[in-house]
C-alpha cells in the first residue's frame, strides 16, 4: 500500500515537473537552435547575461503587477505611468546626492516606496469614486503622465543618476538576480501565506459572497494597488538600468505600452502555474521572454523591431487560441476530433432520415 502511494506521488511529482518545465525548455531549445543556426550567441559575456536578467526581471515583475488587479477583474492602464513617474521622482530626489555605487540601491528603494505611494493614490481614488477601475485607471494614467511630463519638461532624462543605475546594474549582474528572487519570495509570501492573500483569493473567486462573509474588500483593493505600484517602481528602476535613461515625453497614453509586454508571459505563466505556483510560472515565462528577446538581439540586423512585435503578438494569439480551445486541440492531436465530427454528421443524417420517414 505504502509502495503504491509512493509510486503515485512520484508520478504526480514527475507530471508537475514536466508541466512546469516543458514550456521553458521548448523556448530554450528553439532559441538556442535559432542562434546556433546563424552562428550567433544568445548571451555573450557578462553584460549580455546582465541584460538578460534585467529584461527577465522587467517582464516578470510587470507580469506580477498586471496579474494582481487583472485577475480580480480590475483592469489597470496606469501601470506604465506609475513605473515612469516613480523612477523620475526617485532620480530627482537623489540628484543632489553624490553619484556612487550606493546611488543605485538608494534609487531602487526610493522607486519601490514612491511606486507604493502612487499605487495607494490610484487605489484610494478607485475606492472613493466607486467608478469602474478601467475608467479610474484612464484618469490616473493621464494624471501621472501629465505630472511626469511637467517634471521632466517633456525631455528624455539620461546621464547622472540614470547612468549610475545603468553602470551599477551592468557591472553587478547578481544584483538583478537578487531583485528578482526577493520580489518572487515577497509575492509568494504575501499572496500565498498571509490573511491578505487568502482574502484576495476569496474576493477574486466570488466578490459578493466574500464581502457577505465579512472580508473587507476596500482595504484589500487598496493594498493590491499599493503592491502593484511598488512592483512598477521596481520595473521603472530596471528599465533605467537597461536603457540608461527615462522617457519623460509620454503624453496621451504613451506609457501604456509597458504593460502590453506582460500579456503573453501572464498567460504562459498562468498555464505553468497549473502544475506548480502561478508566481513561479510568471518567472519562468519572464525567462522565456528574455530568451526570445536575446535571440532577437543576436539577429539585430536581420530582425527589425516591427518583426519582433509581430512575432510576439502572433505567439500571444496562438497561445490564447490553444488555451481557449484546449480540449479541441487535444482532440485534434489524438484524432478524437475527427471521430466526434464523424459521429455528429452520422447522428444528423440519422435524424434527417427519421424525420423524412415520419413525414
Amino acid at each position: 500500500m505504502e509502495q503504491l502511494i509512493t509510486k503515485q506521488r512520484a508520478k504526480e511529482i514527475a507530471k508537475k515537473s514536466v508541466g512546469t518545465l516543458a514550456i521553458p525548455l521548448v523556448f530554450a531549445v528553439v532559441t538556442l537552435i535559432a542562434c546556433a543556426a546563424g552562428g550567433r550567441t544568445m548571451i555573450s559575456g557578462i553584460s549580455g547575461f546582465s541584460n538578460f536578467l534585467i529584461y527577465a526581471g522587467i517582464v516578470t515583475i510587470t507580469t506580477f503587477a498586471l496579474s494582481i488587479n487583472l485577475g480580480s477583474g480590475r483592469f489597470d492602464f496606469s501601470l506604465g505611468s506609475m513605473a515612469v513617474l516613480s523612477t523620475l521622482i526617485s532620480i530627482k530626489i537623489t540628484s543632489s546626492m553624490p553619484v556612487s555605487s550606493g546611488t543605485a540601491i538608494v534609487n531602487l528603494l526610493l522607486c519601490f516606496a514612491v511606486g507604493a505611494i502612487l499605487g495607494a493614490v490610484s487605489g484610494t481614488l478607485y475606492v472613493l469614486l466607486k467608478i469602474p477601475p478601467i475608467i479610474t485607471s484612464l484618469g490616473v494614467t493621464l494624471i501621472f503622465e501629465g505630472i511626469t511630463y511637467s517634471i521632466a519638461s517633456g525631455k528624455y532624462i539620461n546621464g547622472g543618476e540614470a547612468m549610475a543605475i545603468y553602470n551599477f546594474m551592468n557591472n553587478n549582474w547578481w544584483f538583478a538576480l537578487i531583485v528578482i528572487a526577493v520580489t518572487l519570495a515577497l509575492m509568494i509570501f504575501v499572496f500565498d501565506h498571509t490573511k491578505f492573500g487568502r482574502d484576495y483569493a476569496a474576493l477574486k473567486e466570488g466578490q459578493k459572497v466574500s464581502v457577505n462573509t465579512g472580508i473587507k474588500e476596500i482595504p484589500n483593493a487598496i493594498v493590491c494597488y499599493v503592491i502593484c505600484g511598488a512592483m512598477m517602481g521596481i520595473v521603472g528602476f530596471l528599465s533605467v538600468a537597461r536603457s540608461g535613461g527615462l522617457d519623460g515625453r509620454s503624453l496621451s497614453f504613451g506609457s501604456i505600452g509597458i504593460m502590453f509586454n506582460a500579456f503573453l508571459p501572464m498567460f504562459i505563466g498562468g498555464f505553468i502555474g497549473r502544475f506548480s505556483n502561478d508566481k513561479l510560472g510568471y518567472l519562468l515565462a519572464g525567462l522565456c521572454m528574455s530568451m526570445l528577446n536575446s535571440t532577437f538581439a543576436a539577429y539585430i540586423n536581420e530582425v527589425s523591431a516591427s518583426t519582433q512585435s509581430i512575432i510576439n503578438a502572433v505567439l500571444l494569439v496562438v497561445f490564447l487560441i490553444y488555451l481557449s480551445n484546449e480540449q479541441t486541440c487535444k482532440d485534434l492531436v489524438t484524432g478524437k476530433l475527427f471521430k466526434k465530427w464523424h459521429d455528429a454528421i452520422k447522428m444528423r443524417s440519422a435524424q434527417r432520415k427519421t424525420r423524412e420517414e415520419a413525414e
Binding site: S72, G73, R74, F75, F77, L125, Y126, V127, L129, K130, I131, P132, P133, I134, I135, T136, L138, G139, V140, T141, L142, I143, E145, G146, I147, T148, Y149, S150, S153, G154, Q207, K208, V211, E217, I218, A221, L251, S252, F253, G254, I256, F260, F263, F267, S304, A305, S306, T307, S309, I310, N312, A313, V314, L316, V317, L320, I321, S324, N325
Partner: protein, 340 residues
C-alpha cells in the same frame, strides 16, 4: 408626518429618481454647451481668430468622432477595442502606398475600405470563432497592425514618413465637409442603433449575453456587425487623417484607440455597454474632450505657462475633469460592492 412606506413617499422618491436621471442624461450635453461657450469666451478675450480656432476644434475632433461612433457598436456589446488607432494608421499607410503606385483615387479608397473592414473582421474572427477574450485580441492586433504599418513606412518612406499629394484627399479638408460627413455618419449609425433590431439586440447582448443567447440572438453575428461598423469608422477616420495631414508616420493616430474610451465616457455612455449605450456619446464626448484640452491650453498660456509646461498641466486638469464627470454621471448606478 408621512410614513416612509406610504404611496406618497414612494412617488416622491420615484420623482426624485426621475429628475436625477434626466439631469444625469443631459449632463454631457450641458457640459459640451458650457465648454463651447467657455472656449468662445477665452478665444475672443485673447483677441484670437475664433473662426480659425473653431476650424482647429473640428480638425481635431473629426477623426476621433468618426472612429468612436463606429466603435460604439463594439462597446455596446460590453467589449472594447484599443486597436482602432493602429487600424487607422495601417489603413492610411496602405492608402498612401496604393495611391502612390496606381495614381487611382477610386482604387485607393477601395483598398482602404478592404483594409479597415478586414482588420476589424480579423479581430472579430479571433474573438468569436477562436473564443479569445476580445480585449487581449485587440492588444495583439494593436501590436501587429502598428508593426506592419511601421514596417511599411520605414521600408517605403523617407525619414519623415510616407507622403500623399495634397490634391488627393485635400479637397475634403474643409470644416463644412467634415461637419456634413460627421452628420451623415452619426445619423446612419443612430438609425441602425436606435431604429433597427441591430441596435436593440446589441444592447441586449451587452446587458445580458447569457439571456440574449437563450432567446436565440447570435453573439457571433452581432459581434461581426459591430466590428464591421467600427471598421467603416476607421476607414472614414483614415481618409480624414490624410485630408488634414497627407504625410503618414509611425505616430499618426496613435492615441485614437485610448481617446475613444475617454470620449465615449465623457459623452455619458457606460464603458460596460448595454441598454444605456448612446450613439451620440462619441459626438458629444469627442468634441467635449477636444474643447476642454484646447481651452485649458489657452488659459494656461494666458497664465504665463510655457507651451511645454501647459501640455502636462492640461492633461492633468482634463483627467481630473474626466473623473469628476464620470463620478457625477454614475451617481445613480452605484453598487454596494466595488465595481469591476
Amino acid at each position: 408626518m408621512v410614513n416612509a412606506n406610504s404611496p406618497v413617499s414612494a412617488s416622491a422618491s420615484i420623482n426624485k429618481y426621475k429628475v436625477k436621471s434626466i439631469a444625469i442624461a443631459i449632463l454631457p450635453l450641458a457640459a459640451l454647451a458650457f465648454l463651447f461657450g467657455l472656449f468662445c469666451i477665452v478665444v475672443t478675450a485673447n483677441d484670437y481668430n475664433l473662426e480659425l480656432y473653431l476650424t482647429n476644434v473640428i480638425n481635431r475632433g473629426t477623426v476621433l468622432v468618426l472612429v468612436a461612433t463606429g466603435a460604439i457598436f463594439i462597446y455596446t456589446l460590453g467589449s472594447f477595442d484599443i486597436s482602432l488607432g493602429a487600424s487607422t494608421l495601417l489603413c492610411a499607410t496602405v492608402g498612401v502606398l496604393t495611391y502612390n503606385s496606381t495614381q487611382n483615387v477610386f482604387l485607393t479608397v477601395l483598398v482602404m475600405f478592404a483594409i479597415g473592414v478586414g482588420c476589424s473582421l480579423l479581430s472579430s474572427l479571433l474573438a468569436s470563432v477562436f473564443r479569445i477574450p476580445v480585449f487581449v485580441t485587440t492588444v495583439a492586433m494593436m501590436s501587429v497592425l502598428s508593426a506592419i504599418a511601421s514596417q511599411l513606412i520605414i521600408s517605403n518612406g523617407s525619414g519623415n514618413g510616407l507622403s500623399l499629394p495634397k490634391t488627393v484627399f485635400g479637397p475634403l479638408d474643409s470644416p463644412w465637409i467634415k461637419i456634413a460627413v460627421i452628420a451623415v455618419w452619426v445619423l446612419l449609425c443612430a438609425f441602425l442603433f436606435d431604429f433597427t433590431k441591430i441596435g436593440r439586440r446589441e444592447k441586449f447582448l451587452g446587458a445580458n449575453p447569457f439571456c440574449a443567447k437563450l432567446t436565440g440572438i447570435s453573439m457571433y453575428k452581432y459581434a461581426i456587425i459591430a466590428f464591421v461598423m467600427a471598421g467603416l469608422g476607421v476607414v472614414l477616420g483614415a481618409i480624414f487623417t490624410l485630408s488634414y495631414s497627407p504625410t503618414v508616420n509611425t505616430g499618426t493616430a496613435s492615441s485614437i484607440g485610448m481617446d475613444i474610451l475617454v470620449a465615449i465616457v465623457f459623452g455619458g455612455m457606460p464603458i460596460s455597454g448595454g441598454p444605456r449605450s448612446k450613439i451620440y456619446a462619441s459626438l458629444i464626448g469627442g468634441f467635449s474632450y477636444v474643447l476642454l484640452n484646447l481651452t485649458l491650453n489657452i488659459v494656461l498660456r494666458m497664465a504665463g505657462v510655457d507651451s511645454q509646461g501647459s501640455q502636462g498641466i492640461t492633461q492633468i486638469i482634463s483627467a481630473m475633469v474626466f473623473l469628476a464627470v464620470v463620478y457625477v454621471a454614475s451617481m445613480n448606478y452605484r453598487a454596494k460592492n466595488l465595481p469591476r
